[in-house]
């Protein structure tokens, strides 16, 4: 029984982390109808920045968010303007985005190799004291709990942005119907650029914690993060940011339980579920034929 509870707690924390890791990818898809295949590389970049801040300034990763969030938000804005409006003018922005961001992901991986080398790096659990917390008869690292709490806070903030601000209302309008939103005076570039900035900032924030709860940081692990994030948003529903949480829960529990009971299968089972979802409900678990938000 304790194994079962163990798996439950781990999966819950993992679901929170996966949510923040994948949320930005879905925001970008929802607003811009493009897929950022370099999404995972921004998680890796965030991770390297958090590690550097810990090494040189003794920042714990929560504190480092004060640097990471604004820095990567600006990186997102700077990337948006030369790339996305051009893509959107092409005949097939979705396909174009695959190819373009595939290239961007290689470039970023190359930069990471140059700057940080190819060795595995991780933040130490000891940045948080006490090292462990015990609950329901199991002991888990404090770092995992902090990761999950930060993830939940980030999701709540994005929710408040989308549902309680004027820009958020414009963002939702743009997600539902682009042409109609433009006719109603919604500034596509302003709203999209901010959404892109938020997406990159979210990815990098997830990166600040990724070396605790998922994989140690190396330049090549970005692809894995992209793959997991993409799987999660497909399971949840493409283009509906808050369905990401549902996708993350499904993915994390599939992974968490297999990892404890049949570790050899843990890399496989979540993707079998992905295939099953794609076959049975191609619009995703929360997807509707007509998108509503």
């Amino acid at each position: 029984m304790s194994l079962f509870i163990d798996a439950f707690i781990t999966s819950t924390l993992l679901a929170a982390f996966f949510s923040i890791a994948a949320l930005g990818l879905n925001v970008v898809f929802g607003v811009m109808r493009i897929v950022n295949l370099a999404h995972g590389e921004f998680i890796v970049m965030g991770s390297y920045l958090a590690i550097a801040l810990a090494l040189h300034y003794n920042f714990n990763p929560v504190l480092s968010l004060a640097v990471i969030v604004p820095f990567f938000f600006v990186v997102g804005l700077l990337l948006y303007f030369p790339i996305v409006p051009r893509l959107q003018k092409s005949d097939d922005p979705e396909m174009g985005s695959f190819i373009l961001f595939f290239g961007v992901s290689f470039a970023l991986e190359g930069i990471a190799v140059q700057m940080f080398g190819v060795n595995y790096q991780s933040l130490s659990y000891s940045v948080f004291r006490p090292l462990h917390v015990s609950t329901l008869g199991t002991t888990i690292p404090t770092a995992w709990v902090v990761t999950a709490l930060v993830s939940v806070a980030a999701i709540v903030l994005v929710y408040l942005y989308m549902y309680r601000t004027g820009l958020g209302l414009q963002t939702r309008a743009l997600m539902i119907n682009r042409e109609e939103a433009m006719a109603n005076g919604v500034s596509v570039n302003r709203v999209s650029a901010i959404a892109f900035g938020i997406s990159i900032a979210l990815a990098a924030s997830a990166g600040a914690f990724s070396s605790f709860i998922s994989y140690p940081t190396t330049p090549s692990i970005g692809d894995t993060f992209t793959l997991i994030s993409f799987a999660i948003i497909i399971i949840g529903a493409l283009g509906n940011p808050f369905a990401t949480v549902v996708g993350a829960i499904v993915f994390a529990f599939a992974y968490g339980y297999t990892d404890i009971y049949e570790p050899n299968w843990s890399a496989l089972v979540p993707f079998v579920i992905l295939i099953a979802v794609v076959l049975a409900r191609p619009q995703g678990l929360l997807g509707r034929k007509a998108r509503e938000f």
Binding site: R172, I176, N177, E180, A290, E292
Partner: protein, 220 residues
């Protein structure tokens, strides 16, 4: 083609399917950019201006097939247009949206989700949203298509009311009866060209217009 819309004018635009009526509305409202030529709004060129900036200037349109923001309520739909259509600070948001909903007969549906409306209600909501952006020029794309004769009557009355609040209106329509009720001045399109411009009553007697609508007319 060469087309002018004057202040105070309501111009009907008619023509067979594929003659370019909706394309013209798309070019004026900015969803399509013209390959050539120029587009002037009160004397300034706006050919390359993005659609939301044209909305801020005071150009707006309705859609042949309206797609409101389905997941939002009728009122939220109108509020978006009120808030962002002209980018003005608003203190009278509630009163404004109430007025517009009342004018378009949507008051009772204001808290319903836009996705649950029927076709004619969606068309009214589309018009309400266009009005909420306080257009100086309003482009109406086949508002009467698919409405029954009672509804057509009501909508024609509504447009006559709307006319008082905008500088000028361009009404694209298939239903001749509807055009007649809204305006006397018409332009007839065929294959992207203006083939007639003048009074509606003269248009129906014009040889080329009849040919375009009815096929070749043999003189007897």
């Amino acid at each position: 083609m060469d087309l002018s819309l004057y202040s105070g004018e309501t111009l009907g635009l008619i023509g067979p399917n594929g003659s370019g009526k909706t394309t013209l509305i798309n070019v004026v409202s900015g969803l399509l950019y013209a390959d050539g030529g120029s587009l002037l709004f009160y004397g300034s060129r706006i050919d390359r201006m993005s659609p939301h900036r044209r909305s801020h200037l005071g150009i707006n349109r309705t859609f042949q097939i309206p797609h409101p923001f389905y997941g939002l309520t009728v009122r939220e739909n109108v509020d978006i247009a009120l808030l962002f259509g002209r980018m003005k600070k608003r203190t009278d948001l509630e009163q404004k949206s109430e007025d517009i909903l009342k004018l378009t007969g949507l008051s009772e549906l204001s808290e319903h989700r836009a996705g649950s409306l029927n076709t004619s209600q969606k068309k009214m909501l589309d018009l309400a949203k266009a009005l909420a952006t306080e257009p100086r020029i309003l482009l109406i794309d086949e508002l009467a298509a698919g409405l029954n004769s009672n509804e057509t009557e009501v909508v024609a009355g509504l447009l006559r009311e709307v006319k008082k609040n905008v500088d000028a209106m361009l009404v694209v329509e298939h239903v001749m009866n509807f055009i007649k009720k809204v305006t006397e001045d018409v332009v007839v399109f065929d294959a992207g060209k203006v083939i007639f411009s003048g009074r509606f009553a003269d248009a129906v007697r014009d040889g080329r217009v009849r040919e375009v609508y009815l096929g070749t007319v043999r003189s007897s």
